[in-house]
């Protein structure tokens, strides 16, 4: 039966290893935009290999759409490896810097909230506190929920970065096992869809 199967939209966590060339972020983002893939967050930084950057991309889409994301990403020359680690046991973290309004009457309460969420205070002024929080998005959302009433003056969140638990890496681990759902590059002799 030749039609598209509607499947459910969920959030996917992709790790993308790319050659560290000028314009590579532009290529990736431009691709996602023109194919109407819905990016929630994207982070880029160095990886353990020189010359290779690591992107963590959070996308919303049905499984088949995300498979398309992977295949389209592989069409970019700089893209070396795409892994969907959504269903893997992994550590996912985000860093937030939060500047919250704090007067003498509220300061103690804010410090208490920070302590509950394990946020570190980095700077203080008569009218504000600057704190750093790391954790999953849920935790940071919850912290922000608690602080909102005091007045959030400034906020920056990095977006998610993630790593699979255990010995495997986002590379193939040498035995051909992958730490993630197959978005493996289709090369000679491999099959086009996850079996």
């Amino acid at each position: 039966m030749a039609n598209t199967s509607p499947s459910q939209v969920t959030q996917h966590l992709l790790v993308v290893l790319v050659e560290d060339h000028p314009g590579v972020l532009n290529r990736v983002v431009s691709l996602m935009r023109r194919r109407s893939f819905n990016i929630d967050s994207i982070t880029v930084g160095h990886s353990e290999q020189p010359g290779v950057s690591r992107m963590t991309i959070v996308v919303n889409g049905a499984d088949d759409e995300v498979e398309q994301v992977g295949k389209q990403l592989y069409k970019l020359l700089e893209v070396l490896k795409v892994t969907d680690i959504t269903d893997q046991p992994c550590v996912a973290r985000e860093l937030a810097l939060i500047k919250v309004a704090a007067k003498s009457q509220t300061r103690a309460e804010i410090l208490q909230i920070a302590q509950i969420y394990g946020a570190r205070v980095l700077d203080a002024s008569p009218n504000s506190l600057l704190m750093e929080a790391t954790g999953g998005e849920d935790k940071i959302d919850a912290l922000l929920g608690m602080l909102r009433g005091f007045g959030i003056r400034e906020l920056v969140r990095t977006g998610r970065i993630a790593m699979v638990r255990g010995p495997q890496t986002a590379q193939t681990d040498g035995t051909g096992r992958r730490s993630g759902r197959s978005l493996e590059r289709i090369t000679e002799g491999t099959v086009a869809v996850a079996e």
Binding site: A2, N26, L31, G189, A192, V193
Partner: protein, 591 residues
């Protein structure tokens, strides 16, 4: 057959076809960036480039006369890319074009998009402002690598003269390997002027580029099993068969399996249309029997096509009873538009080579006989004896008849394009050159120029609309300057016909901005120093075609046709292929 005038060539002879050029400089010889560019093109076996000079490429044009390259000076850069595109489709080689920075470069965008959507191998070389000026909004500076990112397979901004040759090497490799496509190389003016030793690498190695050529054996076996089991199988032939140079293998596969074939617009020519197993074009303007077979088949074997929406119609009504086998070299095409039961990722030729021995020789007599009942014989019969002014379909048939189906036909986009697709009867590969994915009006004449230069041995006819021709008719000057023996058939209906047809059928005949006047095409031809012929009556068609063929150099034949003739069948936008509308006049006649 018209006598082929020898095209005017550059004084030095072009290098022999093939990778190894005869005249390129010795390894290690120190050259300017411009000379390195020419040497790299020569090393790729390039003989012809289509282009237009300007400030940023003056150094490159300085080096051209000292090279073996024949430069074709177009009249507008957009037609340089599309001439290179026509050249590539006619020859199977990489087409090459060049333009200056800024407006020269932006004029390439449409042609690059055209080549990307139709998987045509192209390399475009643009000049850029000098490196110290980049990012300062310098005169004629545009970020062409940024602009062309979504319309190229890949692009480069070259930073050092010593990178020019390796970059061009990689660009050609990318353009022609895997799924072919356009690659742009942007070179700053000061890099053209800098000097570096010539070094041409033998191979290209990019970790991130590993096209899959040979398909998975198991998938091939699964495909063969599906084929051997099917009761009502159907093959859908796409451009990929031509790109793989696999038409002979394809024919072997079709004849062995006994499976009827339908074609996408760009698949025409993959297999002889005159063959009993050919059902002609599918899709929006597809033949009745082709779409009827799609509706009923229990297995659809797509080889080298990408399930474009003009081919599939509404997707949930597409091949509703079929399992799908999809052979494609681009894994991203598998499952993109149509759910695939058996994907085979690889080159069409390699896939067919593996598939043929696995397929049981069969004849699907009952199935083929049923399809035959769907052929609209009345349509053909009725068309034959419709009187009136020159019928567009009759013009296409007359060109086919006069040239014995051997000519290369290029087209613009619109009704005349669809009539050309429906009525010529393509029996040979690489004779049908049309803008499929992008639908670029004005493509016909520049593509014909490229095709004629690439295949001087073949007769070339550009079938163009009066609208599209008015976009690119300045290239008559190029054809004249090059002394090209090609013919242009202008199907003059006084309308942007295809748009008018949609307004007629789907917008209550609200003819908004589709009536289009034009010049006196005969006088226009004469103004360009070429021959013009006008045809107003049915019985003048064939003599005019024969006259055009006998005259050397470019000839423009204007056919004044019925203004409101429509292309049938037509699948209304958003409808499925089974809901095609047919010609009322003909349907009544067939009762």
């Amino acid at each position: 057959m018209a006598v082929a005038a020898t095209p005017r060539r550059a004084p030095s002879p072009p290098p022999a076809a093939g990778r190894a050029a005869t005249a390129h400089p010795a390894e290690g010889q120190v050259l300017s960036g411009s000379q390195l560019t020419c040497a790299a093109l020569e090393a790729e076996g390039v003989s012809t480039v289509f282009g237009y000079p300007g400030g940023a490429v003056i150094p490159l044009y300085d080096a051209l006369p000292g090279s073996s390259l024949h430069h074709v000076l177009v009249r507008f850069e957009q037609w340089a890319v599309l001439a290179a595109d026509g050249y590539a489709r006619a020859t199977g080689e990489v087409g090459v074009c060049m333009a200056t920075s800024g407006p020269g470069a932006t004029n390439l965008v449409t042609g690059l998009a055209n080549a990307l959507l139709d998987s045509v191998p192209l390399v475009a070389i643009t000049g850029q402002v000098p490196q110290p000026m980049i990012g300062r909004d310098a005169f004629q500076e545009v970020d062409i690598t940024g602009i062309t990112l979504p319309v190229t397979k890949h692009n480069y901004l070259v930073q050092r003269a010593e990178d020019i040759a390796p970059t061009i090497k990689e660009a050609f490799y990318l353009a022609r390997s895997g799924r072919p496509g356009p690659v742009l190389v942007d070179i700053p003016k000061n890099v053209f002027l800098a000097r570096a030793p010539f070094h041409y690498p033998e191979t290209v190695a990019r970790r991130g580029y590993q096209p899959s050529h040979i398909p998975n054996q198991r998938q091939v076996r699964l495909a063969a099993e599906a084929i051997n089991r099917a009761e009502r199988p159907l093959i859908m032939a796409g451009h990929g068969i031509m790109l793989a140079g696999a038409t002979d293998l394809f024919r072997e596969f079709v004849e062995r399996s006994g499976i009827p074939v339908i074609f996408t617009l760009l698949g025409l020519g993959a297999f002889p249309e005159s063959h009993p197993l050919s059902l002609g074009m599918m899709g929006m303007h597809g033949h009745r029997e082709a779409n009827a077979a799609l509706e009923r088949c229990d297995l659809l074997v797509n080889i080298g096509a990408r399930f474009d929406d003009r081919a599939t119609g509404r997707i949930d009504g597409f091949a509703p009873n079929a399992k799908v086998v999809h052979v494609d070299i681009d894994p991203a095409e598998i499952g993109k538009n149509v759910v695939t039961d058996v994907p085979v990722v690889g080159d069409a030729g390699e896939a067919l080579r593996l598939l043929i021995p696995e397929v049981t020789p069969r004849r699907h007599e009952e199935w083929v006989a049923w399809i035959d009942t769907q052929r609209n014989r009345a349509l053909h019969a009725a068309l034959e004896d419709r009187p009136q002014t020159p019928e567009p379909y009759a013009i296409i048939r007359a060109i086919a008849e006069a040239t014995d189906g051997q000519a290369i036909v290029t087209t613009d986009v619109g009704q005349h394009q669809m009539w050309s697709a429906q009525h010529f009867g393509y029996d040979h590969p690489d004779r049908w050159i049309s803008s499929g994915g992008l639908g670029t009006m004005g493509y016909g004449l520049p593509a014909a120029i490229g095709a004629k230069i690439g295949r001087p041995d073949l007769e070339v006819w550009a079938v163009v609309g009066d609208g599209g021709f008015q976009m690119s008719l300045n290239e008559l000057a190029t054809a004249a300057q090059e002394g090209l023996d090609l013919n242009v058939a202008v199907i003059n209906n006084g309308y942007l016909g295809m748009v008018r047809q949609w307004q007629d059928l789907f917008h209550a005949k609200n003819y908004s901005e589709v009536a289009i006047s034009g010049p006196d095409f005969v006088k226009l031809a004469e103004a360009y120093g070429v021959t013009g012929i006008r045809v107003r009556r049915d019985d003048e068609i064939l003599p005019a075609i024969e006259r055009a063929r006998s005259i050397p150099g470019p000839v423009v034949v204007e056919f004044v046709v019925e203004p409101e003739a429509n292309v049938y069948p037509i699948v209304p936008p958003g409808a499925s292929n089974s809901e095609a509308m047919h010609d009322r006049w003909v349907d009544e006649a067939s009762v």
